[in-house]
């Protein structure tokens, strides 16, 4: 087996016979960032969720290995371990992803205990430091922190759990431009320092161009173009990619 942390072959996700995403090949290695771009409804988020087996009521075929776990055939227990500890999902709307009645610190502590992390306090403190958040935030409820803080907390949670892979679904699109830069900065630094594999779903080509090594362009559930980010974004070969690029302000 290769050393890719995410590896998908002939992935096909369909709902009731209608194919919503089809990805012939997707590899993300350690320390690498791959971005899936495309407009709303192009199947990019579905692809991301299917990699962790999180699509509900969907039929998935093909082969998916994440951190060496065969996602489509793994036991629920193996999947739970994978999702929590090794592959983390960062969602689009950071506030919506945090249970409103739970303090951030309580949430993180429970997650760490659930996955048997030892030395919980130290781990929490270090993870918060890594994403440049004050530890005081752990005492707050989600509605008491900003969107950027909430998103960085989500990343801190992933790090605290020891994630090797971060799958991020539009991680910055719900944030202000300045806050976006913070979050992207944190992601980029962690990727370098920790050799994280990063799979990013975004329609924000400006963001993608600053962080991604390789790009997959999806349209209507199919990959229309893929390759190194520099090439795809500089010399798009598919008309749809050109359209996306021209739509940039």
């Amino acid at each position: 087996m290769s050393d890719h942390l995410i590896e998908a072959r002939d992935l096909r996700v369909s709902y009731g016979g209608r194919v919503v995403a089809e990805v012939p090949r997707l590899d993300v290695g350690a320390g690498e960032c791959v971005a899936i771009v495309g407009e709303s409804g192009s199947g990019k988020s579905t692809t991301l969720l299917s990699l962790l087996g999180l699509t509900q009521n969907a039929e998935i075929s093909g082969q998916v290995r994440v951190c060496g776990v065969d996602v489509l055939t793994a036991s629920p227990r193996a999947l739970r371990e994978l999702r929590g500890a090794r592959a983390a999902l960062v969602m689009q709307s950071p506030h919506a992803a945090l249970s409103p009645a739970t303090r951030l610190g309580v949430l993180m502590r429970r997650a760490l205990k659930l996955h048997g992390v030892r030395d919980v306090d130290r781990t929490m403190a270090r993870a918060m430091e890594e994403v440049l958040l004050d530890r005081e935030l752990l005492r707050r409820y989600p509605h008491e922190v900003s969107g950027g803080q909430a998103q960085r907390f989500a990343i801190a949670l992933a790090i605290a759990l020891g994630a090797e892979v971060i799958l991020a679904d539009e991680p910055t699109s719900a944030l202000d431009v300045t806050v976006q830069a913070e979050v992207v900065g944190v992601l980029r630094r962690l990727r370098a320092e920790r050799d994280l594999a990063l799979l990013l779903v975004s329609h924000d080509l400006a963001l993608v161009s600053t962080i991604a090594d390789r790009v997959l362009v999806m349209k209507d559930g199919a990959v229309v173009e893929s390759g190194p980010a520099a090439t795809v974004l500089a010399e798009p070969s598919h008309p749809y990619t050109r359209e996306l690029l021209e739509a940039l302000p």
Binding site: L54, R83, S99, H143
Partner: protein, 288 residues
Amino acid sequence: MTTETRTPETQPLRRTLPRIPDRFAAFGAVLIVVVVLAAVLAPWLAPYPVDDPRPLERLLPPSGAHWFGTDQVGRDVLTRILYGGRTSLFIAVAVLAVSALAGVTLGVVAGYAGGWIRDVIMRVTDVFLAFPALLLSLALAVVLQPGVNTVILAIAVTWWPWYTRLAASMAASIATRPYVDAARCLGVPAPLIILRHVLPNSLTPVLVQLSLDAGGVILTSAALSYLGLGAQEPTAEWGLMVQQGQTLFTTNWWVVTFPGLAILVTAFAFNVLGEGLRNALDPRRAVK
């Protein structure tokens, strides 16, 4: 229920709950406090012993010695009302506690799990809802020994399905929220997700429903007692007092009127408070 600390650390549940939102609801809350205090402090407030028939003082009209008069066996009506509040409020609290506990538990499981689990739970719920509530309560109360516990059981049996429905619909919508996905994604087992995320975030409308229902339960228990199926002599209970006094209405109006007013005021107070809470928690106003 009356005080509200406004530190930045307030919990979200409390954050969305009162400050009592409007004067009408605040009035209801004050009334409830008065009724509860009167019931709790009955042994100290009551001017006479609760069960102290004095045949020579039968059916005395309201006076300085007996503010609300005396009943057909010469007991002080005010005293009986104060003690009766204990019975009625205890019944209301017990019924709602049992109903909410059973109903909400089943509801969040049904709402979160979906599929056949939800179908089974909701169909059972529907069966209970298919009977007219009062009729089902009556049937149960007739079969069992009359008494306070019977009233509680008989009403709770007809009351829990509403909480199941309410909690199920809340839980079903919360189950699709991203933070539940996130928890699932973190590998949190389903029972823990229900307990820690679905349940606490489903509770707000349940609280509103509880305060709206308290009045209804008191009325229903009064109705059962009125029909002789609830609290029995010498227990003081408002419905029972109304029943015993009704034949005297034309001649000795105070025997039936004052306990009737107690029922009315309490039910009314819970209703306006519940209504106020519902308005305060209306998502169109609460969204920020």
